[in-house]
């Protein structure tokens, strides 16, 4: 009962934040609604007993990614329009809406008609951080190292791209 209440509250936060991202006309308001949606997703992770993922979600998405997006928005001037007009739909929004509706129909229909092979006894145990750490550094060690190198390369590349390579030689 209380579980369902918390789930619907979090789902309202997540979907309300996401709808605000899409529908608000001011892009700074949209970026701030994105943070609300991310925090709701962290709550959903907590409901699924993924406390480590919830912490990472808060740190990386609601922290780092949100700060990056807001910094980029602040570095980009608003052009000729006014601020309340910066998050508009393009001229092909009818086609985009049609594609979205078709995709939504296919997705929801397949979701409803599939019978998932559920586990019979899902145990809601205590924290699993040590298990995740063991898996990450034994079974998935190769992917762990590769993704570390990928992140380093991507961040160095982002700095070089943003700096502009042509105007300082």
């Amino acid at each position: 009962m209380i579980n369902a209440l918390v789930f619907y509250l979090l789902a309202f936060v997540v979907l309300g934040g996401a709808l605000s991202v899409v529908l608000l006309k001011n892009i700074v308001h949209a970026a701030l609604s994105m943070i609300i949606s991310f925090i709701g997703v962290a709550g959903i992770f907590l409901m699924l007993q993924a406390d480590f993922l919830a912490a990472v979600q808060i740190l990386v998405y609601a922290g780092a990614v949100a700060i990056l997006v807001i910094f980029a928005l602040m570095l980009v001037a608003r052009g000729d329009g006014v601020m309340s007009n910066t998050n508009l739909a393009g001229p092909n929004h009818i086609a985009g809406t049609a594609v979205t509706l078709v995709f939504a129909g296919a997705l929801l229909a397949s979701l409803v008609t599939t019978s998932w092979p559920l586990l019979s006894n899902v145990t809601f145990a205590a924290t699993a951080v040590s298990d995740i750490a063991t898996k990450l550094l034994t079974t998935h060690i190769m992917a762990f190292e590769l993704v570390a190198i990928l992140l380093l390369v991507a961040l160095v590349a982002a700095i070089i791209i943003a700096k502009g390579a042509s105007d300082n030689d």
Partner: protein, 104 residues
């Protein structure tokens, strides 16, 4: 009162993905498209962790995938925003309708 099961989480993930897809297809500001892609990645993470909990408990494959998705999303948003800054420096706008220089 029905109890919350896998279908609820999958439905939430599907709705979040659909909202993100709509934003990515329709918006004309480049940073708004990046934000919408982040929403879609979050929807995928909800699905992965729900599957991991309800279909393969104590194996943590879904959690592993979600961790790697988060890391790669962070790399993607850093590169994407850097490209946005360079685009704005060159063209003085981020309106995607103006970026048709590669049309045939």
């Amino acid at each position: 009162m029905i109890s919350i099961g896998l279908t609820h989480y999958l439905l939430l993930g599907a709705l979040l993905f659909i909202i993100g897809l709509y934003g990515a297809l329709v918006k004309r500001h480049a940073i708004a498209v990046i934000i919408s892609i982040e929403l879609m990645l979050n929807a995928v993470n909800i699905n992965l962790i729900a599957f991991s909990k309800y279909m393969a408990d104590k194996v943590f494959f879904g959690e592993m995938f979600a961790i790697f998705v988060i890391v790669i999303a962070a790399a993607e948003v850093a590169i994407g925003l850097a490209i946005c800054l360079v685009l704005f420096r060159h063209r003085k706008t981020l309106d995607l309708e103006k970026f048709n220089i590669m049309r045939w």
